[in-house]
């Protein structure tokens, strides 16, 4: 039975339902209980933004606050997963990966391969990403390309409450290490979400808008910018097909290629940077695998190659918006109706 809840509630519900279903699921990170050991269970923070609120009172032995020691507890997640748990560790901001990246990309990601297939590391790292709340350069980055680059990791970037719940449940049940990216601006986004548990397979894109003139590929928060642009352009007679890959690793290459084969035009919108980012990656995919179908140059819409700035005026200029997406589409679209 679907009802409308927020992206944040959808994540919370996925965690609670999986913890009820499987006693091997443990949740830990900085302040995920937040008030552990006090009398006021109900007042426990549940994370700095309250995403894990209510989990600790229900599962006091399986929801653990950690020291501010990302290397230790992200590494502990890898060790716990190797020994049979299904840890969901929270890396509060993905920007903090700088202090624990070894545990992710040299340890967890490589165990299965290095050990000749004889290891399984079913862990999830939930992490916040993205600009938009004036959090400045060290709390605002969109770093999923760094993880997408690493063989052995799966990378999930949900854009809606429905996807957030289904993809997180899939991530927890998945037997490989998964990095789960939550856009902080999307936490309050409302959407229809079934009450019961369900999974969304990795590597299956969602077609958010159907259209025949231009293919727009967008991820995370940018899906909404792309959809908004598509609605504007529809009124101008340009039909945009908006594709949300939902996971960057694995990437649903076929859905993107099939769409471009039909439209002949591609715009990629991404909040990660222009160099070695998802926009460059998807543009390369289409240029190498569907060049013959292209009837116009590929356009990419990304932030500039700069850190994320603090000042609201600068940050707003940094983040791609619907107007920039629409402009990119117009620069390559032929209005069929004219």
């Amino acid at each position: 039975m679907a009802r409308t809840i927020s992206y944040q509630q959808a994540i919370n519900e996925a965690l609670a339902q999986e913890m009820r279903r499987d006693p091997a699921v443990v949740v830990f990170g900085e302040d995920v209980a937040g008030g552990m050991g006090t009398e006021q269970d109900k007042d426990a923070w549940g994370g700095v933004l309250g995403v894990t609120k209510g989990l600790w009172p229900e599962f006091p032995d399986r929801v653990l606050d950690t020291p501010i020691s990302e290397s230790a507890y992200i590494g502990a997640a890898a060790g716990a997963a190797s020994a049979g748990l299904r840890p969901v560790a929270e890396l509060m901001f993905v920007d903090f990966m700088g202090v624990c990246f070894d545990q992710i990309f040299n340890q967890a990601a490589k165990f299965k391969y290095m050990f000749g297939g004889k290891a399984k590391t079913p862990m999830v790292i939930r992490t916040m990403y993205g600009a938009g709340i004036r959090a400045a350069s060290q709390h605002s980055q969109t770093l999923y390309p760094l993880f997408t680059h690493i063989p052995g990791l799966k990378v999930v970037v949900p854009a809606t409450p429905y996807d957030a719940k289904g993809l997180l449940i899939q991530a927890i049940r998945d037997d490989d290490p998964v990095i789960f990216f939550e856009h902080k601006v999307l936490y309050t986004l409302q959407g229809e979400v079934p009450e019961e548990a369900y999974t969304i397979p990795f590597g299956e894109a969602e077609i958010v808008r159907e259209g025949d003139d231009v293919t727009i590929v967008a991820l995370g928060r940018m899906v909404h910018m792309a959809a908004q642009a598509a609605d504007t352009l529809a009124a101008e007679g340009v039909g945009c097909e908006v594709i949300d890959p939902r996971t960057t690793s694995p990437l649903d290459e076929e859905t993107i290629l099939e769409s471009v084969e039909r439209t002949g035009r591609l715009v990629v919108v991404d909040e990660s940077g222009p160099r070695c980012g998802m926009a460059a990656d998807i543009a390369s995919l289409v240029a190498t695998r569907a060049f013959g179908a292209l009837r116009a140059p590929i356009r990419t819409v990304t932030p500039p190659h700069t850190p994320v700035p603090f000042s609201p005026v600068l940050e707003d200029a940094y983040v791609p918006g619907a107007a920039r997406v629409a402009e990119a589409v117009r620069s390559i679209a032929v209005k069929e109706s004219v």
Partner: protein, 331 residues
Amino acid sequence: MRTDLHVSGRALAKEDLLRHYRVMRTIREFEERLHLEFATGEIPGFVHLYAGEEAIAAGFCANLRDDDYIASTHRGHGHAIAKGCDVKGMMAEIYGKATGICHGKGGSMHIADLAVGMLGANGIVGGGPPLVCGVGLKARVTGTDQVAVSFTGDGGSNQGTFLESLNLAAVWRLPVVFVVENNGYAESTAPRFHQSGIDVAKRADGFGLPGVVVDGHDFFAVYEAAREAIERARAGGGPSLIECKVLRYYGHFEGDQQSYREPGEVENARATKDCLLLFERSTVNAGIVGEDELRAIDKQVLALIDEAVAEAKQAPDPVPADLLTDVYVSY
């Protein structure tokens, strides 16, 4: 003839003593042989030898069960052998062969076998301590009495991961033991140049944990300290730190010219405090073990290592298609 040796009032039966000797001798023979074989150029990559430190791996693993875990270092052959990894599979792995314990995909620095609780040698200095915290958490959450031990060198003891893990394990009261093998050099740098404070073990005080120093050449000293710490962890008493002072007999890696050593350092250690020598002296002088029994083990171990090398050399390489397998469980 006596049939047991008492360590702090506890009897070590003769068959156990012979078993522990066999573990140490196997490690020594494995490493001495690798030293020779590496020089022929037939072994790919690089290897880091554990010779001289055998009493530590043997003393700790003698106190562990099959369902306990260890995390190791780049100098991991000794830990792997002591925890029960297949010796022939290890040798084939070091030769990069398909029959290797990791099918040739890991090599010397990534020998692992989760089935015997070996979480892996580790190419990253300080990579192991966080992993054993996770195993300790697993034991705590699922209510088992498993214990996890991490081995780290004196070099690794300066990594943030090591210090963070001491704190995390203390805060979560995890059933883990942190072992520092202070073997005289972090790569080529002696502790007086890289380590503040004389004993790494003293760092335990800052975390409210027991920390002790033992002679890493003395199997019985290591065994006793390991037993106490592991039993405490198993009983819910939380983590401990044990620093074993020892000397490695070879370089940081094979081919290391070791210009940083004191003259005669290794020769002196081999002649006066070698772990096998000390073990033999204690057990034979106590009248529990006959010299002939130890020589018989030596012979069997030598034959095993001969076979392991011969088989590794003959074993098939991986096939190119193996490049693409085992990246993910599913993708």
